[in-house]
């Protein structure tokens, strides 16, 4: 097995090549009590910063999605401290000033794009902050849609903006006030409230774990997007 040399918080370790940063840290003897979640690049819990040997740039990515390289200096950031505005979404007016009123620091943005460079989801973070600044809630919601709230943008921002909270507010406002209502959803909520599914849920709750597992594995899966070639039944 080929080994690579990495530095975890300054201390040198030899770890097998090809491991993710997360697995490499575990290999080196660290045990996660924070900073790890889905291990599949979706939850945003494992924000990591690192430098590569001979490079001045500081990189940012997810520990579960990035493989170690020889000479890598790294540390994980289990949490990003950032103030979150408190609001009652039912009382917020989705107007031009909504985002800048709750997060006035977005007006400090100098368009350096450092947030965008730090984003492991490859979002145009600076562009959604700029959209927020000009009151374009829908634009900010669309551009930030795939945000996983890892906080790396906020850690790197020289203007001390908490981008991911701004994007979240934009998406909430867009969902509540700008998107057309979803009639199917409203219908289903009514059905649930009426208790249409109570019997079925009760039945599920009474099942053994093995029966549940079997049911889950045999469930109907909706077909993938149409471009995918259909698998022939044999």
């Amino acid at each position: 097995m080929k080994m690579v040399k990495i530095y975890i918080m300054g201390k040198e370790y030899q770890v097998p090549e090809g491991l993710t940063i997360m697995k490499a840290m575990e290999y080196a003897g660290y045990r996660y009590i924070r900073g790890a979640g889905c291990r599949a690049g979706f939850c945003g819990a494992c924000a990591t910063v690192f430098r590569k040997e001979g490079e001045y740039k500081l990189h940012a990515d997810l520990a579960c999605q990035t493989t170690v390289e020889d000479g890598m200096y790294l540390v994980q950031l289990p949490f990003t401290p950032a103030n979150k505005a408190v609001y009652d979404i039912n009382k917020v007016k989705a107007d031009d000033k909504a985002l800048v009123n709750f997060y006035p620091e977005i007006a400090r943005c100098v368009s350096c794009n450092t947030c965008t460079k730090a984003c492991p989801q490859e979002l145009e973070v600076m562009d959604y902050i700029q959209a927020s600044l000009r009151g374009d809630i829908q634009g900010a919601a669309d551009l930030s849609f795939d945000c996983i709230q890892c906080g790396l943008c906020a850690m790197r921002c020289p203007a001390e903006i908490a981008h991911y909270h701004v994007g979240q507010l934009a998406r909430r406002l867009a969902g509540k006030y700008l998107a057309p209502p979803a009639p199917d959803l409203a219908k289903r909520v009514k059905e649930i409230e009426k208790g249409v599914f109570d019997k079925e849920v009760k039945k599920l709750m009474g099942m053994s774990i093995n029966r549940l597992r079997k049911l889950y594995n045999e469930r109907d899966i909706e077909p993938e997007e149409e471009e995918e070639p259909k698998r022939e039944a044999d």
Partner: protein
């Protein structure tokens, strides 16, 4: 008529408090055969130009927008058109000064390009152009005169320039001491230009936010009284911040000077919309002081469909 396409930078304010400026500018530009193509991606210009010569970071925002103009040309959205049209005087001022700042200093430009390593290099090819310059230099006021369908004859209009369109001298679109570009526009629309001794006195700018609003209200009083003394009915301007100060702060001026009388403040494009018979695109609903009484008095809004 052949449509002439220009890249267009709106700036944040034209998407918020100055929507009526953009709406009226778009309407009048289309009518004149000019298509203002908004940059597909843009960011705040920086709001104020940084005067610190080694403060390169605060030039990045402006220059990034200029790269977008290059990209529009490179992708074929534009046919070799590097005049970036700006409506907001403040954005015009910042973008033009930043452009000069980096193009006359190769080392600074190199530094900025290196920092923005995710973008193509800025090559210094963009020319920041105010929409008023397009009217004067590209169209010509004679041509504009021909396009008037409802002469504004009888309306007395005072131009207010403020600071950012004229100063500093090297970026100004006209003589910083005795500008005439807006007066020429007023005359071409059939209205009477009215001079104002205070037409390039600062309106108080950003004092309008915070505790010193009185500074703005006193200047607003001075500027509007200067126009009124010479007989003006209305004021036109090209800056959303000046417009906000001169328009919305009149209420406060009235509080300080009880003898003060309100005067409508329009964007020059709103006046053009009126003269081109495009009242529905003038966006008067966005003005704080209602311009209708004055326009009605001058019998100028009989075609008006929307009120």
């Amino acid at each position: 008529m052949k449509i002439k396409k220009f890249p267009y930078y709106p700036g944040c304010t034209l998407k918020q408090t100055a929507k009526n400026f953009e709406k009226s500018a778009m309407g009048t530009a289309n009518y004149l055969g000019i298509e203002l193509k908004e940059l597909p991606r843009w960011n705040c210009c920086g709001a104020v130009f940084s005067l610190t010569s080694d403060d390169v970071m605060h030039q990045v925002a402006a220059i990034r927008n200029l790269i977008r103009v290059q990209e529009m040309n490179d992708s074929g959205m534009l046919d070799n058109e590097y005049h970036l049209v700006v409506l907001c005087s403040m954005c015009f001022n910042v973008l033009k000064r930043a452009n000069i700042f980096v193009t006359k200093d190769a080392e600074t430009l190199f530094k900025i390009n290196e920092f923005m390593d995710e973008e193509p290099d800025y090559e210094g090819t963009v020319e920041i152009t105010h929409f008023l310059e397009i009217l004067r230099d590209f169209m010509g006021f004679e041509k504009i005169k021909e396009k008037v369908v409802q002469s504004l004859y009888g309306l007395k209009v005072s131009a207010y320039y403020g600071c950012t369109l004229l100063r500093p001298r090297e970026i100004g679109i006209d003589d910083p001491e005795a500008p005439t570009i807006m007066e020429e526009l007023i005359a071409s629309l059939g209205a009477t230009p009215i001079d104002n001794h205070y037409k390039s006195l600062c309106c108080g700018s950003y004092h309008t936010v915070g505790k010193d609003k009185d500074i703005v209200a006193r200047r607003t009083y001075k500027i509007i009284e200067g126009a009124r003394e010479n007989g003006a009915d209305i004021i036109i301007t090209s800056c959303p911040l000046c417009a906000f100060n001169l328009d919305n702060r009149q209420k406060l001026s009235k509080k300080i000077y009880p003898d003060f009388q309100y005067m409508p403040v329009l964007y020059f494009t709103q006046l053009m919309a009126l003269a081109f018979g495009k009242e529905e695109e003038a966006g008067f609903e966005g003005n704080y002081i209602d311009p209708y009484p004055v326009l009605e008095k001058r019998d100028l809004i009989h075609n008006l469909k929307v009120r």
